[in-house]
Every structure is written in C-alpha cells, then in structure tokens.
C-alpha cells in the first residue's frame, strides 16, 4: 500500500458538464460559467443611461434564465469586468432580457461603447424578488427615485400583464431634472393601455417642464392610500426611501407590505465575496428585495 493521495477530479463531475442553473442555489455547479448572450437592441434613454436588450444564445440556457421581478443578474464584459444589474424587462418574456445601465464606472463605460451584435456574458438570476402573487387583489404603489425606476419596470410589466388581478396601480416617480427621466416613451402606454396612474415630479424643472417640482414625498397628496389593502415597492437612493417609508409607516401600511430594493457593491453575486454585506446580511442572497421591517433591523442599511 503506497502513500499516494488519490486525485479527485471535480472537473469530471456530471453536474459540472451541464450549464449552471442559478435557480438551484445549493447544487454543485460551475458558479463562474457565464451564459453567452448577444446585444440585439440598444436604446439611449438619457445622456448617461442606456437600455440593452440581450438574447441568450443557447436555448437551454435561455430557459434556465427564469427570473422574478426584483431579481438581478451579473453582466460580464469579457476582459473588463462584471457588474450587478437589476433585470428591467418582463419576467414573462422568455426571448430576451433588458438591462438598464448607467455609465458610472470602468466596466459600464466600456459597455456604453458596445454595438449591436456584441457578445456578453450573463450569470443569474440572483437574489430575492417582489412577492407579486401575494399582492393580487390589492392596490400597488410603486415609488421610484432616479435610476430606481429600472428595477420597478419588471413589477410594472407584471402588473400590466396581470392587470385584472390588481386594484389601483400607482407609479410615483421623481428625478433631479426632466432630462434624467427614464422610459419616457412608455408612459403613455402605461397610463392609457394598462390603466396605471403615473405621478411625476422633478427637483428642478426646465423651460419645457410643465409638471410638478419638489421632492417625491410631495406626490403623496395625489394618492389616497387604503393602508390595509396596499402593497408598496420603493427603489431609489437611501435618503429617499428613508423618508418615503417613514411617511407610509405613518399612514398605517404594515411593514411587511412595504418592499425596498437595496444597492451595494457586488463582486460575486453569490454570498461569497462579502462586498455587499449590510450589517450581517448579504444583499445578493438575502436581498436585494427586503421588507421594511427587515431593513429597519439591518445595521447600516439606511
């Protein structure tokens, strides 16, 4: 009997030969294998934000990428890096997914130079989601500040596609300036086709702006809230949801019916690198969607 330590080659593990299924969190798999996808459309939303429509090349992988509103994906720009982005398209759409990207760092700057047909990598979906089924039969209040409209577009699609399941649907949206408003081309459809009431406000108007100016909390005077029959989703800068949630808490909406989506730095998306920790909680695995009670319990969240 010799002393040779046997080799256990996990590269030959049958689970590793398949495409990774990121919806099966604990199964052994190629955690860093990306799904190859192609940019099939680019919409310039503002000076700093672009909407990328991506189609996953492999049919099996396209089916595996089954997400829920509120979840995020890691977008890989080979050679440059990977960025976490909330999925902004409809969860029902199995053909392509859309990601809204703000030019904010090294990788996103490169991404903004990408043209149609560019091949990117995608991992996901990751994280928690908004409990859309639970909201059926109630009013929905979606409150977004700035880029926060991007993660809310998925639940807006959900509400539109299942419009009969919900009572009133309100979207409250505020930005610093009118030029920063995202998805303006869809507002007419949301209001006229999907019976969604859109309320907008900007902090500083320009000569063309005919709407309201002020902070987002001022929009509450346009909505009558039925606290026992309303679900709220909030996404925006921390200072915004602090005031918004505080106000709604005062209105009497139960804390477990108010949801926020948090943003943190992420490197892995899988509860390993710890870059996105808030207090003792991973934003990537336990979030990004938290109810208000959980957020109040998170040290350093707000």
């Amino acid at each position: 009997m010799d002393y040779k330590v046997p080799k256990q080659d996990i590269n030959t593990d049958p689970l590793l030969s398949k495409s990774p299924d990121f919806n099966r969190k604990s199964a052994v798999m190629k955690t860093d294998k990306v799904y190859k996808c192609e940019i099939i459309n680019i919409v310039e939303l503002t000076e700093f934000e672009k909407l990328f429509r991506l189609k996953i090349a492999d049919r099996t992988e396209r089916e595996l990428f089954d997400f829920r509103p509120g979840q995020f994906a890691m977008l890989e720009v080979p050679g440059f890096g990977e960025v976490p982005l909330s999925i902004t398209s409809s969860a029902n759409n199995k053909e392509y997914i859309e990601l809204c990207v703000r030019k904010a760092g090294r990788t996103t700057e490169v991404l903004h130079q990408a043209r149609l047909g560019t091949k990117l990598g995608l991992r996901g979906p990751f994280g928690t989601s908004f409990p859309m089924e639970e909201m059926a039969g109630c009013n929905i209040l979606l409150i977004a500040g700035g880029l926060g409209l991007a993660p809310l577009r998925a639940p807006i699609y959900w509400a539109s596609e299942n419009r009969n399941q919900f009572k009133e649907v309100h979207v409250l949206y505020g930005t610093k300036e009118p030029a920063q408003m995202l998805f303006t081309y869809q507002y007419g459809e949301w209001e006229k086709v999907n019976n969604i009431k859109l309320h907008t406000i900007v902090e500083k108007g320009d000569s063309d702006w005919k709407g309201r100016t002020g902070l987002i909390t001022e929009l509450f005077d346009e909505v009558t809230i039925d606290p026992q029959n309303t679900y709220v989703i909030v996404c925006g800068p921390p200072v915004m949801f602090k005031f918004v949630c505080h106000h709604l808490n005062g209105e009497g909406i139960p804390m477990n019916r108010m949801f926020v989506s948090l943003e943190r730095r992420m490197h892995c998306g899988m509860g390993k690198c710890c870059r996105c920790m808030v207090g003792s909680t991973f934003t990537c695995v336990d979030g990004p969607v938290f109810d208000y009670w959980s957020v109040l319990n998170l040290k350093e969240a707000i």
């Binding site: 009997m1 010799d2 002393y3 040779k4 330590v5 046997p6 080799k7 256990q8 080659d9 996990i10 590269n11 590793l16 990121f22 969190k25 604990s26 052994v28 798999m29 190629k30 955690t31 860093d32 294998k33 990306v34 190859k36 080979p78 050679g79 440059f80 890096g81 990977e82 960025v83 703000r102 904010a104 760092g105 996103t108 047909g117 091949k119 990598g121 943003e263 943190r264 730095r265 490197h267 892995c268 899988m270 509860g271 390993k272 690198c273 710890c274 870059r275 920790m277 808030v278 207090g279 003792s280 909680t281 991973f282 695995v285 336990d286 040290k299 350093e300």
Partner: protein, 345 residues
C-alpha cells in the same frame, strides 16, 4: 473515527512515506523576528527533518493553500467577433502536515461558508477534497485565546490528528485514506495508560491558556453596542492596511479582477483576497462609500467575526489564534477590543 497510538520513530517513517509520495506542505522556520524569535510558515518540504513540528504558530495560516491570494476563476479567449470562456478547477493532490486545531477549525468554518451555503465554491471544494490533512496539538502561546472560543480542540475536518503523549502520538483517524496509509507502519490500540496520558495532555494544554476573551452574550452585545465609542477609539488607530485579513485563518472576503493579457488575445478573471478594512471595500459605482470611516470598517470586521453572518449560522468565525493581533502595526487586537466592549455594556 478510530483511535490508535504510534511511536515517534514509526511516525517519522509514516510521514516520510507521505512526503516521498506527494507534494507535501509543512511548518518551517523561515526567518527570525526583531526579538530574535523564530518566524514559521507553511512551505513545501522534501523531508521530515526539514519541518519544525514543534513550531509555535505560523505567521500566515493554512487558509492560503485553499484560498490563494490570487486565483484564476476563468479565462476568455478572444476571436474575431466572439470569445470562449474556459473554467477549470485545479486538483493537485497534496498533503499538509502539522496543522493546529484552531487552523483546522478555521477550515471547518470556511467549509460551512464556501461549501455549505448557497452556490458552493467549486474552486475551494476541489482544493479541500484533494488535500490530505494531518493535524497536531500544541502548547498555546501567551496571547492565544482559542480556548475562550472553544476552538482549542478539534474533532473533524482532518484525515489524521496527532496528540503528543510523550514518546508516542495518540492518533485520531478520520478517513479510510489515513487508515490505509497507516497499514505501512506499526500502530497499536491505545492502552488504558495511553488514554490517561491523552486526558492529562489535554488538561495540561487547556490550563496553559493565559489570555481570556469574554464571549458570553457577545452576539447581542455587538448589536446593542453598534454605536459605542469603543469603535471610534480603535478605528482611529487602524491604518487600513488589511494585514489582519491576510493572516486571518477565516477571513475570506474577496474582490474580482479582470485583466487583458498583453497579447490582447485573452483575459483572465481572478479572485483576489481583499480586506474589509481597505477604504474602497464598500464603495459603489459613482463613488458613494457605504463605510466611509475607519471605525465603520473596523467595526464591520469585528461584526463579521464575532456577531457572525448568515451563512455561518450566526456563529462567530474567529478561532482565537490572534494572528491579526500579532500582525497589526497599530497594536489592535481582539482581546482588548472585545473585553472593552463587554465591560462597557
């Protein structure tokens, strides 16, 4: 689990057999510090005599052999308008000799986090599965406090563990591999006398701990004292160098770096060990930093280590080796910070 005893002469034969057949890593003196005391590290060894098995503590932990400072996760090879990704898990069988109980407990904690939780890490798993681990007990240093954390003894996470009972080692065999390897040498069942020596040894080691850290109720104290001035006091001393995380046997936080090779034909995606004390750890795109102050970052590391995080079941992940305390240029150490926090509340 099977217990045997082996004479020190036979043990040398046994370990030499392992060294001859495998890539083997063991404790070695590599330098002396400014006080003239030996500095030990785990290094590749070619013979039994090269090792210092009665070493005090290695400066870095064995963690680095499972979570190397820099590790390739995947590579992209570029073609005309496309690319191909390659993912490979490195599996080179090897043996590590002379690992202390606290360091094995640290690996058990990393197992929980990196294999047990969501999205098990295949990179870590490949290295753990292909490592033959021989543990050994030791006399604690004056500033070791693993006993306070219950990490001074170990009962799993190794192939073989050896406790020094004089002219023999009391063996705990935890794998069939170790059992079969031991068939090459002479081992015997422990006698009543060996068992007594084993208990005496354990008691003697336990009684040697001089440094105590008050762990009672620490998790809730961490939550309650989140705004304590203790954090600012120690945070102000911190140099944000990240040395504590580099030598820590359980710090696993990392960053991802991606670099294009000089030939512009491929790129590598690498995991690089990081420290939560480094200034940009929680900085997001656009420049907002969620932990702008030194005290925020220092507190966060203590919070992770003593409050415990989700994936380690809300258990502290510190094993009490005090490597961070010895490495810290600013003189920050867990015993002082925690005891101060405990007294205050």
């Amino acid at each position: 689990m099977i217990n045997k005893v082996i004479t020190k002469g036979e043990f040398e034969k046994f370990i030499s057999g392992i060294i001859d057949a495998n890539e083997t890593i063991g404790p070695k003196q590599v330098d002396t510090d400014r006080d003239g005391k030996p500095v030990y590290q785990f290094r590749q060894v070619k013979s039994f005599g090269e090792m210092d098995l009665d070493y005090t503590i290695t400066y870095s932990s064995v963690k680095n052999f499972f979570l190397p400072f820099r590790e390739e996760l995947s590579r992209f090879d570029f073609s005309e308008k496309d690319w191909d990704q390659t993912v490979e898990y490195r599996v080179n069988p090897r043996a590590i000799i002379g690992v202390r109980p606290c360091d094995i407990n640290a690996l058990n904690i990393l197992d929980k986090v990196l294999i047990g939780g969501a999205y098990p890490s295949p990179y870590y798993l490949a290295r753990r599965r292909n490592t033959f681990l021989v543990g050994m007990d030791h006399e604690p240093l004056e500033d070791c406090f693993c006993e306070s954390l219950g990490q001074d003894t170990v009962h799993r996470g190794f192939n073989l563990f050896c406790e020094d009972i004089g002219d023999k080692y009391y063996l705990t065999i935890m794998s069939s591999k170790a059992f079969r390897f031991l068939e090459n040498v002479k081992v015997t069942d422990p006698t009543k006398e060996d068992d007594i020596k084993f208990h005496e040894r354990r008691k003697r080691l336990r009684d040697m701990f001089k440094t105590k850290v008050e762990m009672t109720g620490l998790q809730s104290v961490m939550d309650i004292e989140f705004k304590s001035p203790v954090w600012k006091k120690w945070g102000d001393k911190c140099l944000n160098c990240g040395s504590c995380a580099m030598v820590c046997p359980t710090c696993y936080c990392y960053g991802i770096e991606e670099n294009i090779d000089v030939g512009l034909k491929s790129s590598r995606k690498e995991r690089v060990q990081y420290s939560c004390n480094l200034v940009d750890f929680a900085e997001v795109a656009g420049g907002h930093n969620f932990r702008p102050l030194k005290e925020d970052r220092l507190k966060y590391r203590y919070y992770h280590h003593y409050r415990g995080f989700a994936q380690n079941g809300d258990e502290p992940i510190c094993v009490g080796c005090n490597r961070c305390g010895r490495a810290c240029l600013a003189g920050i150490n867990p015993k002082d910070v925690i005891n101060e926090l405990q007294l205050e509340s």
